[in-house]
């Protein structure tokens, strides 16, 4: 008789989810799935609201990456208005995004994942958290806390508020940057650069200790998607779509994000509120693709800032072709923080950055707008339709975490097959199942919201649905 395990809730991730593992009649792992147990409903309840409110409304999707949602939304609204955003505003938006990447990646790496990396996957679960890290290596933990603070201070410096600011508006931003704020922001960067260099050294050194995890954490060929600039370099806010296959061959390049529907389909699964996007030319579910930090570093030809480019070269040298294991996301996050700090340094010294011309005004001139940016967790799509009065009639959001849904399930299956050898969930298995999800740093609250506390979060189920074990 087949069996099924359920793990719920999955810990140290943003949002609420559970994992089920189904065993076949021989007791071997037949399937493993992540279920997102929340429903947010933003696509539906935004209908009827003026498009000018969308930036603020969609920010409420998330407290970690509201900036990404506001930027994707503002870009969709820019298209509805049919205006060209002033150059200074485009740069300011990019810099705000840098602040978010720094704080979000620092949260993922230091607060959520470093307990596994520093203390070990098999360490005492009671201690395997940020407090354990503080005890074991206080300087490292303080680096993480400080780096996240710098990210938040950057956001506050530009937008006036750390969470859910209302600075980004359709057409640009609503306040120019003052010289005082510029100087204050510049003063934060040297410490950030020191911390990230130390952290990258730590991360690279610890990679050797995790060869087992690297080999099994979603280590399989798949397509990758990310935004790139005109030269194919890493882009976060303004860029074109590039897909590569599992061997690293570019299969679609410089695709205008407005044409995303030609390349991406969305499948709906009955056991999760999270949609399963797929690469259309390969169909469902073969069109599995990955997004996020490692995917971005896999698809791009390099990075426009020198220190981050050097790290990227080292990163890519770890394997031929794209780095397939999602475990590499940890290292990729730190490289992206370095890129953001360097970008801040470069653009804050641009004299145009203080320009008072930061907003283009307009009305709803076109019925449709699509805005695509790279969020910390991957490519984020906002697609809106409005009526003649500028009121929203329809919205479609493909949230970064959603893009990775198929890959997360396959990663779970890989880990479950490797580590689960009997009908009992051991701590080693439970933590690695959660850690593979954590490597993707999914934001389940972003992706789909009803907090559910019923039942446990990792379950092992028999093939007749009977719960054999849970954690």
């Amino acid at each position: 008789m087949g069996q099924q395990f359920v793990i719920e809730p999955v810990s140290r991730i943003e949002g609420h989810g559970k994992i089920t593992i189904t065993l076949d009649e021989q007791g071997k792992v037949a399937d493993a799935r992540l279920h997102v147990t929340q429903l947010r409903g933003f696509e539906k309840f935004c209908a009827g609201r003026p498009y000018t409110e969308m930036v603020a409304l969609v920010e409420r999707i998330c407290g970690i990456c509201p900036i990404s949602h506001s930027l994707a939304s503002a870009r969709a609204c820019d298209t509805i208005m049919g205006i060209r955003v002033p150059e200074a505003a485009a740069k300011l938006r990019q810099l705000l995004n840098c602040g978010e990447f720094i704080q979000s990646h620092a949260l993922s790496f230091f607060y959520l994942s470093s307990p596994d990396l520093l203390l070990g996957m098999d360490s005492d679960p009671d201690n395997r958290n940020i407090f354990g890290v503080l005890q074991e290596n206080p300087a490292f933990a303080q680096d993480g806390i400080r780096l996240r603070k710098i990210g938040q201070q950057v956001i506050e410096g530009f937008a006036g508020k750390r969470i859910h600011p209302s600075w980004v508006v359709p057409g640009g931003v609503n306040q120019p940057l003052s010289p005082e704020h510029r100087d204050q922001l510049l003063s934060l960067l040297p410490q950030g650069l020191e911390i990230i260099k130390r952290s990258l050294d730590f991360c690279k050194q610890s990679m050797d200790r995790y060869q087992g995890e690297i080999a099994t954490f979603a280590n399989f060929p798949s397509s990758f998607l990310g935004l790139v600039d005109e030269q194919g370099k890493l882009a976060h806010v303004e860029g074109k779509l590039r897909f590569i296959d599992g061997q690293g061959e570019i299969v679609a390049d410089q695709v205008d994000p407005a044409r995303y529907q030609e390349y991406i389909g969305e499948a709906v699964e009955k056991d999760s509120y999270l949609k399963s996007p797929y690469y259309k030319p390969l169909g469902y579910p073969e069109g599995i693709y990955r997004v996020g930090p490692a995917a971005r570093l896999n698809v791009c030809n390099g990075i426009t800032t020198p220190l981050a480019h050097q790290e990227w070269t080292e990163f890519r040298r770890q394997d031929q072709g794209p780095l397939l294991s999602s475990f590499y996301n940890h290292q990729a996050r730190l490289i992206e923080i370095l890129y953001c700090l360097e970008t801040l340094e470069r653009l804050l010294r641009d004299p145009d950055i203080l320009s008072p011309r930061v907003r283009a005004l307009g009305q709803a001139n076109f019925p449709e707008g699509i805005g695509v940016v790279e969020a910390p967790r991957g490519t984020l799509f906002h697609h809106y339709q409005v009526d003649d009065n500028g009121l929203m009639t329809w919205a479609n959001l493909i949230v970064a975490t959603g893009n990775n849904n198929l890959a997360m399930n396959r990663g779970l299956l890989q880990v479950a097959r490797h580590y689960l050898t009997g009908p009992k969930l051991t701590d080693a298995v439970i933590n690695r199942l959660q850690a593979v999800i954590r490597a993707f740093d999914p934001c389940l609250s972003c992706s789909t919201h009803s907090l559910r506390s019923d039942g446990p979060a990792i379950q092992v189920l028999a093939n007749d649905g009977q719960v054999l074990d849970c954690a």
Partner: protein
């Protein structure tokens, strides 16, 4: 300025208003018989919260936030519409009044949809300021959250009935100051809705002059300028006393 003999005569023939003595919150005061308790209180720096009241528009008494107690009467009365009598003893801030005011605000918040964080008037809203002033920490009534259709048909303005508190400032300013009377009220009680002309889209109104006075006097985000994002709708109301003063001068 033209001072016609007729107007001078009419001023000279009006008997001076009676001056009354009264007590507000323990202070012995005097005030004119033709001024409301609210006006006398304000002249003496006694603050009474208001919402539907706006200087320059007729009194409405709709929001009931300015309720005060008069010694000898069990029923509180709106200070904006009540005139003093000789020897009146008035209380403006008893525990009962403060409870009533908070309840009124709670009912207003629960009746429509006032999610400040995503509202164009966030940070510049009279309803929000009152909630802060009166210490409203939560709403005990169930939120009704009716889904009322936003009217974006006007070229310059947006009407969002979800944010409306039925203060009727828009109705009064349009009828009394602009003279267009585009706005009016439909329905009764909780079903009341502010409408344009014969309950038609604002953009199709034949009477609206697009002057924007209604938008500027609206205390919340119910009426706003098109294109404003969250927290960007700052209302400018200084036009109203200026406009009225200039008209008065012209008449004189």
């Amino acid at each position: 300025m033209n001072h016609s003999p007729a107007s001078r005569n009419s001023q000279e023939n009006t008997p001076p208003p009676r001056i009354l003595t009264l007590q507000i919150d323990g202070q012995d005061l005097s005030g004119r018989a033709d001024e409301t308790i609210l006006e006398i209180a304000r002249q003496n720096k006694i603050h009474i919260p208001t919402l539907c009241r706006l200087d320059g528009l007729s009194g409405h008494g709709g929001c009931r936030l300015c309720l005060v107690e008069i010694s000898g009467q069990n029923r509180p009365v709106p200070a904006c519409l009540t005139y003093p009598q000789e020897g009146m003893v008035i209380s403006t801030a008893s525990q009962r009044l403060q409870d009533y005011r908070r309840k009124i605000l709670e009912l207003l918040f629960s009746e429509r949809n006032h999610v400040c964080a995503v509202c164009v008037s966030n940070g510049h809203c009279e309803l929000q300021e009152l909630a802060v002033e009166l210490g409203l920490s939560h709403v005990r009534y169930e939120y009704l959250h009716p889904r009322l259709e936003v009217d974006g048909s006007h070229a310059r303005f947006i009407r969002d009935p979800n944010r409306c508190v039925l203060c009727l400032r828009c109705v009064r300013v349009c009828a009394e100051v602009e003279g267009a009377h585009t706005w009016d009220v439909m329905g009764r009680g909780i079903s009341s809705r502010v409408i344009t002309d014969l309950n038609q889209a604002w953009g199709s109104s034949q009477s609206c002059t697009a002057c924007g006075k209604c938008v500027q006097v609206c205390p919340t985000g119910a009426l706003s300028e098109k294109g404003t994002s969250v927290a960007e709708m700052i209302k400018h109301r200084h036009f109203l006393p200026q406009l009225l003063a200039m008209r008065t001068n012209r008449r004189e």
